[in-house]
């Protein structure tokens, strides 16, 4: 009996597709010839819905895009609206936003770590990472009552100021996380099985990465130092000293290392922001009914998954004419086919995990 090339269906219900993603795989024995993602199983019509809501009402719905990093979506959207409306956010709120956004990056990367390790088979790491993440979620819960769909960043500032007890609890959590990270690194970094499943797997060259529009840690793992926090700074990120971790090979292992290092850099940024919290007004004065004169703006931020952008077009009313979201996961997923070709079928799960996608953001 001769084995022929065949097509395999993966998803939309699958434990390792990080949501309702369907992958059509063309395989020859166990070697992947091509991957075609089929989207739309979580398409909720967000952009259409936003056109019938006020600018303020849109904020909680942006949580549901990248639901693992809700505050990033809030920040991206609020910055775009503020730019369009000409709202100047005071420095104190900008620093508080940086603290929230970086804590959210921590939580997001810890979730990614747990999921990716679990998919490859290291289940203990899922439990370690989620336990560390729970500490950060406790901080969010104390801040505004929500763990996951937080919308703590609002137009003009944030839900509330950081008070002294919360600041000291943030510092306490930040001290605990590096130890947990060390535990995970001791388990994985030089682990022979981990390295065999990740080193050299899912490679993408820098030029191809740029062509595919890859952004975020996936691009930086190819050695390109593109980070919106440095390139087009927003919310006072240029006040803080931090490094942008880079990889060399653009494979799964480098993407793993880059994100782990980003966790350490986030801790560094939050420390500086807390140390340097300026006094003064907290939020900007935003009218209760926010009407914005006709215009259009495109604003990007460095979200944990990549470059997140919002195009907001206004028409003089209190509702946006159009909000278009540039979704990093949507664009990054296009590179999956390129990364998987020539690899084994069992590597697809690892490569998908290293891309760190969220279906809420892909499907909108």
């Amino acid at each position: 009996m001769e084995l022929r090339e065949y097509d395999l269906n993966m998803g939309p219900q699958h434990p390792s597709t990080h949501g309702v993603l369907r992958l059509k795989l063309a395989v020859d024995n166990e070697v992947v010839l091509g991957v075609e993602p089929v989207l739309g199983y979580l398409h909720r019509g967000m952009e259409k819905l936003w056109e019938s809501l006020t600018y303020t009402q849109v904020v909680p719905l942006t949580d549901r895009l990248d639901y693992i990093a809700a505050l990033s979506n809030n920040l991206g959207y609020c910055l775009a609206v503020e730019k369009l409306a000409g709202i100047e956010v005071p420095k104190r709120a900008r620093y508080v936003r940086v603290v929230l956004a970086e804590l959210q990056r921590l939580a997001s990367h810890l979730a990614w770590l747990g999921f990716m390790a679990n998919d490859i088979g290291a289940m203990s790491v899922l439990l370690y990472a989620f336990e560390a993440r729970e500490d950060v979620l406790d901080l969010f819960e104390e801040y505004c009552g929500a763990r996951l769909t937080i919308h703590g960043i609002r137009i003009g500032g944030a839900v509330r100021d950081l008070d002294t007890p919360l600041v000291s609890r943030i510092r306490a959590v930040l001290e605990r996380i590096p130890k947990r990270l060390e535990d995970v690194r001791a388990l994985l970094d030089e682990n022979r099985i981990w390295k065999e499943r990740t080193v050299g797997v899912g490679r993408i060259a820098a030029a191809a990465a740029i062509d595919y529009g890859l952004t975020g840690p996936g691009l930086r793992a190819c050695g390109l130092a593109w980070d919106m926090r440095k390139d087009i700074p927003y919310s006072s990120y240029d006040d803080f000293a931090f490094d942008v971790p880079l990889g060399t090979n653009g494979d799964v292992y480098d993407r793993y290392l880059v994100r782990l290092e980003e966790i350490c850099q986030s801790i560094r940024i939050v420390g500086q922001a807390l140390d340097g919290l300026p006094g003064g007004e907290f939020t900007a004065k935003v009218p209760r009914v926010l009407k914005i004169a006709p215009g259009e703006v495109f604003h990007t931020i460095e979200a944990p998954k990549g470059v997140l952008g919002f195009t907001v077009r206004s028409n003089g009313t209190d509702k946006p004419e159009r909000v278009k979201m540039k979704s990093p996961s949507f664009i990054n997923l296009q590179a999956l086919d390129h990364m998987c070709r020539g690899n084994l079928f069992s590597d697809v799960v690892g490569i998908l995990g290293s891309l760190d996608i969220v279906l809420g953001e892909i499907d909108k």
């Binding site: 529009g213 495109f298 195009t311 004419e321 278009k324 540039k326």
Partner: protein
């Protein structure tokens, strides 16, 4: 927000080069806050994008956003406007290219230049019905293939034509 990103002189030079190369196709332009924004006639789209990528160094296509102008006073006077957001990194320069296209008309696909345009164009087709000539596989990306209508058009109801499930 790039509060202190003043006008970049490179953008003014770029605009001059564009206007020179594509005389008559540049319908409107402005350089503001570190970004060049041009409105092109749709026939010049493919060559203008090629110029911007290969000669001006805009190596990243950040986004393609389509707009339905139904019911609003659109500058271009056509049903749809498609906006291409290009970026040059490193250097952090941005360019916005807007083209107007009517219903039933099509635009040249940007996929031969930027692979990242692939799904973005499929999304514009799915949600608005704008067609892109030269796209390798132009079909719906979110809605099922047999779905009728283009949801993000202004005359498509939020709850859908079947009244919502």
């Amino acid at each position: 927000m790039p509060e202190d990103q003043a006008d970049r002189p490179e953008l003014r030079e770029l605009l001059a080069a564009l206007a020179g190369r594509f005389a008559g196709a540049v319908l409107a332009s402005v350089v503001d806050e570190g970004e060049l924004s041009v409105r092109l006639s749709k026939d010049a789209l493919a060559s203008a994008l090629r110029f911007l990528k290969e000669e001006a160094g805009f190596n990243a296509l950040e986004d393609i956003a389509a707009f339905d102008n139904l019911g609003s006073a659109a500058e271009g006077g056509q049903r749809f406007t498609v906006v291409y957001r290009l970026g040059k990194f490193p250097g952090a320069l941005r360019a916005r290219v807007a083209v107007d296209v009517g219903e039933g008309e099509s635009l040249a696909s940007a996929v031969p230049l930027y692979r990242s345009a692939d799904w973005a164009e499929r999304e514009a087709f799915d949600m608005f019905g704008v067609r892109f000539e030269g796209h390798p596989d132009l079909r719906r990306i979110y809605m099922p293939d047999e779905f009728e209508g283009h949801p993000l058009r202004k005359d498509f109801p939020l709850a859908g034509r079947t009244g919502g499930a």
